[in-house]
């Protein structure tokens, strides 16, 4: 599904290399997790894959089902089926959540040559999905993420994911700012979307999210590279001993 080869990325504005040769392959139907200390480049990887400005790819490739991602606009990547659940979902005053969701769903349908959803169809669709995530009508009416609690913002991300039905989902620190109940709700939402045709890349600091979203493979990232990969046990090892041992071992 997602294939990253020798990816090198620097900041556009300053001469600072963030990713220094990332290699990663996430097959369809699998959940991969990336863990790593602060500043290791995890979030940068998610931004580069989704097409945020400010980064320059100096070397390497990233493809989604064989299609080169790096030359595409963010909306084109989304239309191909890439989805980033933001670490910090952006507040957009003045744009109603419902308007936002409908615009996004229809934009992607249009880009894929599907017919746009009618207002009535859409309403039925969004209500069903929102109910599963315990998102009430009020949250749909309010401006995008404005005045939402941390948990509401993350649930709103998962709602978008559920509605857009992407093939490749990247979750950037989706557990940050969540209490246990909220995390469980979000994880349930994610688990409900797991299927053979869909892949996940879960970026997280802590092992606890991975208790709820159980990964197939765990990667450890440090200083812009993946330094170790393993099964779910690797996450437990990090939880117990921190990153120091692994860093020392691979240094």
């Amino acid at each position: 599904m997602l294939e990253i080869k020798n990816l090198h990325v620097k900041l556009e504005e300053e001469d600072k290399q963030i990713l220094k040769g990332v290699n990663l392959e996430v097959p369809a139907g699998k959940v991969h997790a990336i863990m790593g200390p602060n500043g290791s480049g995890k979030s940068t990887l998610s931004y580069v894959l989704s097409g945020r400005d400010g980064y320059e790819v100096t070397e390497g490739t990233a493809t989604l089902e064989g299609e080169d991602l790096l030359d595409l606009d963010p909306e084109e990547r989304a239309a191909l089926g890439l989805f980033l659940a933001f670490q910090y979902p952006v507040e957009i005053p003045g744009v109603g959540n419902m308007t936002f969701l409908r615009t996004a769903v229809n934009a992607q349908r249009k880009a894929r040559g599907q017919e746009e959803m009618s207002a009535a169809e859409f309403l039925k669709f969004v209500r069903a999905k929102a109910k599963e995530l315990k998102i009430d009508a009020d949250m749909l009416k309010r401006p995008v993420n404005v005045g939402f609690s941390g948990g509401e913002k993350k649930r709103n991300e998962i709602l978008q994911m559920a509605m857009l039905e992407p093939k490749m989902c990247i979750l950037d620190e989706t557990d940050s700012g969540l209490d246990v109940d909220a995390m469980k709700l979000v994880a349930d939402g994610v688990n409900a979307l797991r299927d053979e045709g869909r892949a996940f890349l879960v970026i997280t600091h802590y092992q606890r999210l991975l208790d709820h979203i159980v990964p197939d493979v765990v990667h450890i990232m440090s200083d812009g590279k993946i330094i170790k990969s393993g099964g779910p046990d690797l996450a437990l090892e990090v939880e117990k001993n921190g990153y120091a041992d692994i860093l020392a071992e691979t240094a």
Binding site: G51, R52, E75, A78, P89, V90, V95, T103, Q160
Partner: protein
């Protein structure tokens, strides 16, 4: 008052030389003569006058109206076309009886200024030129005085009770050289309520004054769309006096136009009154838009709110001059003023002069003026969800002006205005 300089004297003589004072009865002739005398004392504004530093008055001062091509609107229907309304049509400032509703049978007391001006006495004498005279502060407004002296027509409306249908003034611009002067007088008796709609560019150069006397507990709603002819110029001024517990709400949409100067003078004369004035202006290229607002709190416990949003691109210029004056007796005043611009490129310019002058000690007043670009984080968020860049930009522009549109109380009008904005943005994409 000091005598005018020779230069100002000459400019005024040149301007008035081209004007003809309409014939009229005693009451209006008195008001017109008074205006001419005031104008002769003040002269026309110059670029060095306070409040004209951001906006060049020369094309408004010129004896001849500069030419303005008439826009081909294609199949576009005018704003408010679908509204069940009392319709009054002016083309290049000339009343169109065939296109207008039957005013004598409208259920509301609506007359044409041209008609009431022929009488020797009319109730409008207590308002016409009177609130305008009160509003010659904190600076003089010579173009409004010029209008009082020379306006050829307008509507004179008096309402008691609630008027169900909105009164809709539709101004069409058909001549590239027209120079129109309209003056409206609106009086709301105690407890009355009405909605006034205005739309259209009116003329190549349009000078419009509206005086509104909002009685105690009366409610006045005003929604205006100034047409989208590119080359037209307009000077408009609203002079409003509000009684106790009254409400005044005004919203203006301006898209295009070489020059627009919208002035407002609002006097909160009775306690517990509320005045809201809002505007959304969209400019692209040769566009200069100026909101100059003065709100005088002269009674206790009144609220005023100004919300102005401008979206500017490709050299468009927006200016805002807003002042809240709180007199000593106007305790418990709540005054709010917000003027913001969204600059879509580096060539756009926004100039703002917010002012507060407060003599009472128990008041809450705030003002904020900002200018900024599209928020990159918001743009990326929308695009990451598959929304293409143009659509995402338009959504963010609409979101930016939403606060001003929310000042329209009626959802139907608010929606229609939003739709017009959306179409404007869509058309701009092709430029």
């Amino acid at each position: 008052m000091a005598a005018l300089t020779q230069k100002k004297q000459d400019a005024l003589s040149a301007r008035l030389g081209g004007m003809t004072m309409p014939e009229g009865g005693a009451w209006i002739t008195e008001a017109r003569n008074d205006a001419v005398a005031r104008l002769e004392a003040m002269g026309l504004p110059g670029p060095r006058d306070e409040y004209w530093r951001f906006t060049k008055p020369d094309t408004l001062n010129a004896a001849q109206a500069p030419e303005a091509a008439v826009l081909d609107h294609g199949s576009e229907t005018p704003v408010f076309s679908a509204v069940d309304r009392i319709k009054i049509v002016f083309v290049d400032g000339v009343f169109q009886p065939d296109e207008s509703s039957d005013l004598s049978n409208s259920g509301v007391e609506i007359e044409r200024l041209a008609d009431v001006a022929r009488a020797d006495i009319h109730w409008a004498k207590d308002i016409y030129g009177k609130i305008e005279t009160l509003g010659q502060t904190p600076v003089e407004r010579p173009h409004a005085v010029l209008n009082t002296a020379y306006a050829t027509d307008g509507v004179v409306i008096r309402v008691a009770g609630k008027v169900e249908k909105p009164i809709s003034l539709y101004y069409r611009h058909e001549s590239a050289t027209s120079d129109a002067y309209l003056h409206h007088v609106v009086k709301l008796e105690e407890g009355a309520e009405m909605t006034l709609l205005e739309n259209g560019p009116a003329a190549a150069r349009f000078n419009k004054v509206m005086e509104v006397d909002v009685g105690d507990k009366a409610r006045f709603h005003h929604i205006r769309a100034q047409g989208r002819d590119h080359e037209r110029r307009a000077y408009t001024a609203m002079f409003v006096r509000q009684g106790a517990e009254s409400l005044f709400k005004s919203f203006t949409l301006t898209a295009n136009g070489r020059l627009t100067r919208n002035e407002a003078y609002i006097e909160l004369a009775g306690p517990d009154a509320s005045a809201h004035i809002a505007g959304a202006a969209l400019g692209h290229g040769d566009f200069h838009h100026d909101d100059t607002v003065f709100i005088k709190h002269d009674a206790e416990n009144c609220e005023s709110r100004q919300v102005f949003k401008k979206v500017l691109r490709k050299g468009a210029v927006g200016t805002f001059q807003g002042k809240i004056l709180v007199e000593r007796r106007a305790q418990k005043t709540d005054g709010y003023q917000k003027s913001q611009s969204l600059l879509l490129d580096d060539d756009a310019v926004f100039l703002a002069k917010p002012e507060l002058e407060i003599y009472a000690d128990d008041v809450a007043c705030s003002h904020g003026s900002t200018s900024g670009a599209i928020d990159e984080d918001m743009l990326f968020y929308l695009r990451a969800r598959g929304v293409d860049k143009d659509t995402a930009m338009d959504l963010l522009v609409l979101a930016f002006v939403a606060e001003a549109i929310m000042e329209i109380e009626d959802e139907g009008y608010a929606e229609e205005i939003s739709e017009r904005l959306e179409s404007w943005l869509l058309r701009r994409r092709q430029d």
